[in-house]
């Protein structure tokens, strides 16, 4: 087996394990199960956003508005909680999902019905959503003491010793996995991204499929928005600012082709975990805070470069002898 024939998910998994090993060498506590679990839980928001982004990128689009969507939906939930502390928590999550999906649908409609390139649409809505948060909140923060205890406690409810936030992420992963591997819509994501022209010929509505990917991305972002605000017990205009780039980076590290049509749920989850480990480890390991940015940048570049090496297009095999030895040189 050469580097190229190993599935990228395995490589990425090994890289993450190696990374944990390196960190453990300096700081053994990092690899305590409880800490690893907490790292995974901290990464849950990134995983959920990356799942939505994955669907969007696979359809040959990109959603730069996810972080703004998260912030806006989170603010709406927080303001609702302040206005009606009695609002049942069981409904808050579905509500966030619907609000987020609605915001995603705005992106989707602009891409589908108006035909504006996705990066332009979401670059625009990204700033518009942030602006709307400012208008809604008047620019002020919603703080912990203004939120009801049940609101902030929700993502932390332990189920089998693991926070609900992590369980929700697990459900999202499974849901998206089933969606993209076992449903017509999920396969249409790949078809549309792989060859939009051909998708039209096969009767797939390209615009509608992309629209639905945006709705999915929006729904996941919205849901994460509530969980984020509840977890950090604060809502303000700038939460998760710049997070969209982390989300895109997680996808690409996970092997999602930025040109669409290729990628896997497993890869995305690992890509997100890779970033999660780095972001959580740096404050822990004794590294000067001023080095953190450069290190995470380098890590992204190396991960992507490794990933690309394992994915080089092979030449065609025409010669019979080459076919049997099957070892591209």
């Amino acid at each position: 087996m050469t580097l190229r024939t190993i599935p990228r998910e395995v490589i990425l998994g090994l890289v993450i394990i190696a990374l944990c090993g390196v960190i453990a060498a300096r700081f053994p506590n990092f690899v305590r199960p409880s800490n690893l679990l907490s790292v995974a839980t901290d990464t849950a928001p990134l995983i959920m956003l990356a799942l939505g982004q994955f669907a969007v990128i696979v359809t040959r689009c990109i959603d730069l508005s996810v972080a703004a969507n998260l912030a806006l939906t989170g603010m709406i939930c927080a303001l609702l909680n302040v206005a009606m502390p009695g609002f049942p928590m069981g409904l808050m999550l579905p509500l966030a999902l619907v609000v987020g999906a609605g915001l995603g649908a705005i992106n989707g409609v602009l891409v589908w019905k108006v035909g504006i390139p996705p990066i332009v649409v979401t670059l625009g809505t990204m700033t518009v959503f942030r602006g709307i948060i400012f208008l809604l909140s008047g620019g002020s923060w919603v703080n912990a003491h203004e939120m009801s205890a049940s609101f902030t406690q929700f993502p932390r409810i332990p189920v089998l010793g693991i926070e609900l936030l992590a369980w929700i992420a697990v459900i999202a992963v499974l849901g998206v996995y089933l969606l993209v591997t076992r449903t017509a819509l999920g396969r249409a994501f790949y078809a549309v991204g792989g060859n939009p022209h051909a998708a039209v010929y096969t009767g797939i509505d390209v615009g509608r499929t992309q629209f639905l990917a945006f709705v999915l991305s929006g729904a996941l972002a919205g849901m994460t928005g509530y969980l984020w605000v509840a977890r950090y017990a604060v809502a303000y205009v700038e939460i998760a600012n710049g997070f969209e780039l982390d989300v895109v980076a997680a996808c690409v590290i996970g092997g999602v082709a930025i040109a669409g049509g290729a990628g896997s749920v497993g890869g995305v989850v690992l890509g997100a975990l890779f970033l999660g480990v780095i972001k959580n480890a740096l404050p822990v390991v004794n590294i000067s805070p001023f080095w953190q940015l450069a290190i995470s940048g380098t890590a992204i570049i190396i991960a992507v470069a490794l990933n690309a090496r394992s994915n080089r297009p092979k030449g065609r095999i025409i010669l019979k002898k080459a076919e049997h030895s099957h070892e591209p040189v």
Binding site: L178, T181, R182, T183, A184, R187, A188, Y190, A191, G194, N195, H197, A198, A199, V200, Y201, T202, G203, I204, D205, A257, G261, A262, G315, R316, I317, I318, L319, K320, A322, P328, V329
Partner: protein, 512 residues
């Protein structure tokens, strides 16, 4: 025709088009054309490049909406808002361009859009694989249903496209130049398939520029010219020449240009050229004034080898001599500097930049000639482009229209013009007449002859035996990445070519 004949004909007519009009910005692609397809019959649609054949296919499959006219299915007016609607109405097509998905498996390519469902409406992968394998086997294609499409060659991809068309239970099957990328053996299998579909009572529309195929398969014909309906009838009622006349509006002699080659000094010598997976031990010499044919079944590795000559892939061994001097060519740009140009086979991907206007495509490899101090000069560009486009009888509204809006054949002419404009010493033409109409084909052939006459060295890769035999001074046959024969003069006959290309000769030798 008798009364009963007519009424029987009407009963058989599954699909009818009446007065279809379709305009694109600047072009009237279809101007009130009629077409009728009958159950259990093959209707051939013929016409020059740009006559509107593919446009009619797209209208029949719901990809384009007609601006006027009516589609009648079993006598009732119907609209196909999208491809899915057409498929549900029982109309399926093999399109001129392969419309498939590289990252998906063969099975999925065949079934995407109508995959078998299992529990909870989830896709039933097992059933899908099983049925895909069945369909592939039924058309004689030995393709694993589970491999990714990206791992298949062009011919196999085409077979997958055919399998896809058969995966829906259709009453009307449309084939837009289905044999363009297939080799001899696969074409025979396709013909058998068409016969079988016919016997199942399906109505078939068959589009091709190859007249032997048309006369072999079709029961009826319909002719379009410049978006207009010219005529239709039974194939038995017309001759080859009649059909050509209807199509082109004049007679075209099928004879290849007579040449009296003056063969000069060796220009290009290839020795021991090898690549790890694509080809091995290629040796030949090309002389000025010569047309050297490269024959082989589709997938024999001719294109790959030619591409390594211009520096797209790196060979692992071997040398190239130009005028007896060893040269290492690392990129197409270097090849052009050496006077070697390659007209690629895949015009959409490698040949033309479809979004740019014709004149910019033509001048792209010759920008040095049409510019001064690195600044482009529009007037010179137009002049250069016009010279070569008009020589090849290009049909286009203006030199400023984008290549993408041209018909397939006209795009091919732009690509050839683009390479000729560099005024090379060696020109490699990879399937130069693939998909172009009979009149334009003759123009390309004439031009090739003229180039050779002027002392150029020409390599022509082709999978069409008549073309190879009609044009080449010498033929090299390739099989599985190796040269298996080099034929000259009387040795060059269709039987010999096929035997070498298919490996029968080798087997015989081995047996002895």
């Amino acid at each position: 025709m008798t009364q009963t004949d007519q009424s029987r004909g009407a009963a058989l007519r599954v699909l009818e088009l009446d007065g279809i009009v379709k305009t694109f910005p600047g072009v009237k692609a279809l101007d009130g054309v009629n077409l009728s397809l009958r159950a259990g019959e093959v209707t051939a649609l013929v016409g020059e490049n740009g006559a509107g054949k593919s446009t009619i296919v797209k209208i029949l499959t719901g990809i384009y909406q007609p601006d006027g006219g009516e589609i009648l299915l079993d006598g009732a007016s119907i609209r196909f808002p999208d491809a899915d609607a057409a498929a549900r109405a029982g109309v399926t097509a093999i399109h001129q361009e392969t419309v498939l998905f590289e990252e998906l498996t063969v099975a999925e390519n065949i079934f995407i859009g109508h995959a078998p469902r299992g529990r909870f409406g989830m896709i039933d992968w097992a059933a899908m694989r099983k049925r895909a394998t069945e369909i592939l086997r039924s058309i004689g294609a030995e393709i694993d249903a589970e491999v990714k499409l990206a791992d298949l060659g062009i011919a196999s991809r085409h077979l997958v496209a055919i399998a896809r068309a058969l995966s829906v239970d259709a009453r009307v099957v449309i084939m837009d130049e289905p044999t363009a990328a297939l080799s001899h053996k696969e074409i025979e299998e396709l013909f058998a398939l068409v016969d079988m579909l016919k016997s199942q009572g399906k109505a078939i529309l068959f589009i091709s520029h190859k007249f032997d195929e048309i006369f072999r398969l079709a029961d009826r014909y319909t002719v379009f010219r410049d978006g207009q309906f010219v005529g239709e009838g039974k194939i038995g009622d017309v001759t080859h020449d009649d059909l050509v006349k209807m199509m082109v509006g004049r007679a075209v002699d099928q004879v290849f240009p007579k040449r009296s080659p003056v063969i000069g000094a060796p220009v290009l010598t290839v020795a021991g050229y090898s690549h790890p997976t694509e080809f091995e031990d290629i040796n030949f010499t090309l002389r000025s004034g010569e047309i050297l044919g490269f024959y082989g079944l589709v997938g024999a590795g001719r294109s790959e080898f030619m591409q390594s000559l211009i520096g797209i892939t790196k060979p692992s061994k071997g040398v190239v001599r130009i005028d007896d001097r060893v040269r290492v060519i690392r990129s197409p740009a270097a090849a052009i500097d050496e006077g070697i140009v390659y007209v690629p086979e895949d015009r959409g991907k490698q040949g033309a930049i479809t979004q740019l206007p014709i004149f910019q495509n033509v001048t792209l490899p010759s920008l040095g000639k049409t510019s001064r101090h690195g600044f482009t000069r529009m007037a010179e560009e137009f002049a250069l482009a016009r010279t070569y486009c008009e020589r090849l009888d290009l049909r286009a509204a203006s030199l400023d229209t984008t290549v993408g809006s041209l018909s397939g054949g006209n795009q091919q002419k732009v690509v050839i013009a683009k390479w000729l404009a560099t005024q090379p010493r060696v020109i490699i033409l990879d399937e130069p007449t693939k998909g172009i109409d009979i009149g334009s084909k003759a123009a390309v052939h004439d031009f090739m002859a003229e180039l050779a006459g002027a002392g150029l060295a020409v390599i022509m890769v082709s999978s069409e035996i008549p073309e190879i035999l009609g044009m080449s001074d010498r033929v090299i046959v390739m099989r599985e990445g190796r040269i298996v024969a080099e034929l000259e003069g009387d040795e060059m006959s269709p039987e010999v070519l096929v035997r070498h290309a298919a490996g029968i000769e080798e087997q015989l030798e081995a047996a002895q």
